[in-house]
């Protein structure tokens, strides 16, 4: 399992090598952070998309810009005056992502000049939950720039069970 995680992490790092804003998923695959390397300048607004059987909740904006904000799907829907389901359907149509299951809209902007740079952890503590593999995508609000994409192999409950049984067998062998 550790080898698998190391391999996945290496793959993820390779994907993010040129990204100025990066999605980071912890080993337990239950928490996301977004970091910046300073190459992209503020202000930016980005969507964090979840495709597959998963969802994201909660957040902690670390970026110090006074105009920074994290909007979950419900907040996005409220701004648009639509239900979350209709909002999601609208995004599915517009982006051509039929498996889109959740999203958040993140604004990294500062009302001071010069603005704080987009360096280090910008958003932390986004909780990821799900029942199977998901794809996370960080894309600019004009949909022109895909900053990062991560494939997260959240194990399905059946896989968890199999892993548990396997663990028990290993213990008995010892």
């Amino acid at each position: 399992m550790k080898n698998l995680l190391v391999m996945l992490t290496a793959l993820a790092m390779a994907t993010a090598a040129n990204a100025a804003l990066t999605i980071n998923v912890n080993e337990a695959m239950d928490t996301i952070t977004i970091t910046g390397d300073g190459a992209t300048l503020p202000p930016v607004a980005v969507y964090l998309f979840v495709e597959g059987p998963g969802s994201i909740t909660g957040s902690n904006i670390v970026y110090p810009g006074s105009l920074a904000a994290y909007n979950e799907l419900e907040a996005v829907a409220a701004t648009l005056g639509m239900s979350p389901a209709d909002t999601l359907a609208s995004f599915k149509d517009f982006t051509g992502k039929p498996a889109l299951s959740d999203l958040s809209f993140i604004i990294l902007a500062d009302g001071a000049i010069p603005p704080a740079p987009l360096t280090g952890t910008l958003v932390g503590n986004i909780t990821l939950s799900g029942t199977g593999p998901v794809v996370l995508t960080l894309v600019s609000d004009d949909f022109a720039t895909v900053f990062d994409t991560k494939h997260v192999p959240i194990p399905e409950p059946a896989t968890f069970a199999l892993l548990g049984i396997g663990g028990l067998l290993l213990r008995r062998r010892k």
């Binding site: 202000p43 607004a45 701004t79 609208s90 604004i107 000049i113």
Partner: protein, 308 residues
């Protein structure tokens, strides 16, 4: 063989020279008005024009300054509009004379339903058809149209490139001797609309607008409330004041009027910061962005430019 070639050359040189060059051009008359002109050299003369006039932005909204009716020495020109003649003009059956040329709606613009015709006024393209009838009918008639003149003028809605082409389906350029083909050149023109008068000259900031090169963005509905990039954020929020505008402010922060890289659209308040620095883009501009942050068109007055 050499003798044969020589004989052909002699025959060709001895024959009458029939050649008509027709140049069709357009010129900016100011205020969005474009004159469509022609210049004919050689013979025979032009009997009729069928031209497509198009703009690459906005619409063609009006047509004016065209001759109507028969060409006479006192009023020469191409005033017969073949496509619209039967729709609007009545010919007295007894005398064969036209009852009146002064009919509302009788213009050179071909109807959109006519084969090969463009969309017409209010669209990006019109087809005009203009012919000349005169007596005596010879090219040297004193009543024949001049060889150089203005066919008509059109009014366009915004700055655009105007293109002219022959509408071959509707006849193109036809000479009085239809067996001769005209050598037609068409030259379009770039028209600028709005610079002269889009910003009110009685505003105290008018001189600044002129000094900054009369930027169109100062005349847009939301620029003075923070719409520095002159667009919304698009799907799905359509925020009028958002990151794109803030980015323009950041890029132009503390720039002065003599800075060639200054984007005047970032000058939201249309004023400098005063003594001693006179920054065109500074805290008051940023403050307007922050005050209207994430507002849509519905949340803004939309009445820019306003008196300062």
């Amino acid at each position: 063989m050499k003798k044969m070639i020589l004989a052909w050359a002699v025959i060709l040189l001895a024959g009458p020279v029939w050649a008509t060059d027709v140049a069709i051009t357009c010129t900016d008359e100011g205020g969005g008005v474009v004159a469509i002109k022609y210049a004919v050299t050689g013979s025979p003369k032009v009997r009729a024009f069928a031209l497509d006039i198009t703009v690459d932005k906005g619409t063609i909204d009006a047509i004016s300054d065209f001759k109507v009716g028969e060409s006479t020495a006192g009023s020469k020109g191409y005033g017969i509009f073949p496509g619209n003649f039967s729709r609007y003009i009545t010919v007295d059956a007894a005398t064969g004379e036209v009852t009146t040329w002064d009919v509302n709606g009788y213009t050179p613009v071909a109807d959109v339903n006519d084969p090969g015709a463009l969309g017409g006024l209010g669209t990006a393209g019109i087809t005009i058809e203009m012919g000349a009838l005169y007596y005596p009918p010879q090219d040297n008639s004193p009543n024949a149209p001049d060889n150089t003149s203005t066919l008509c003028k059109i009014k366009i809605s915004e700055s655009a490139n105007v293109s002219i082409s022959e509408n071959v389906t509707r006849g193109g350029v036809v000479l009085t001797d239809p067996s001769v083909t005209a050598n037609v050149t068409k030259t379009g023109c770039a028209i600028t609309v709005g610079h002269a008068d889009c910003f009110p000259s009685n505003f105290s900031t008018f001189s600044d607008w002129v000094a900054l090169g009369k930027p169109d963005c100062w005349c847009t509905k939301y620029q003075c409330d923070g719409d520095a990039d002159v667009k919304t954020s698009g799907f799905p929020f359509n925020f009028r004041v958002f990151t794109g505008d803030l980015a323009v402010i950041v890029d132009n922060w503390k720039k002065k009027i003599d800075d060639p890289t200054l984007n005047p659209c970032a000058d939201i308040d249309h004023k400098d910061s005063g003594f001693p620095f006179k920054f065109r883009v500074f805290t008051t501009d940023l403050a307007k962005i922050v005050a209207n942050w994430k507002k849509t068109d519905a949340g803004l007055p939309g009445d820019c430019p306003r008196p300062e």
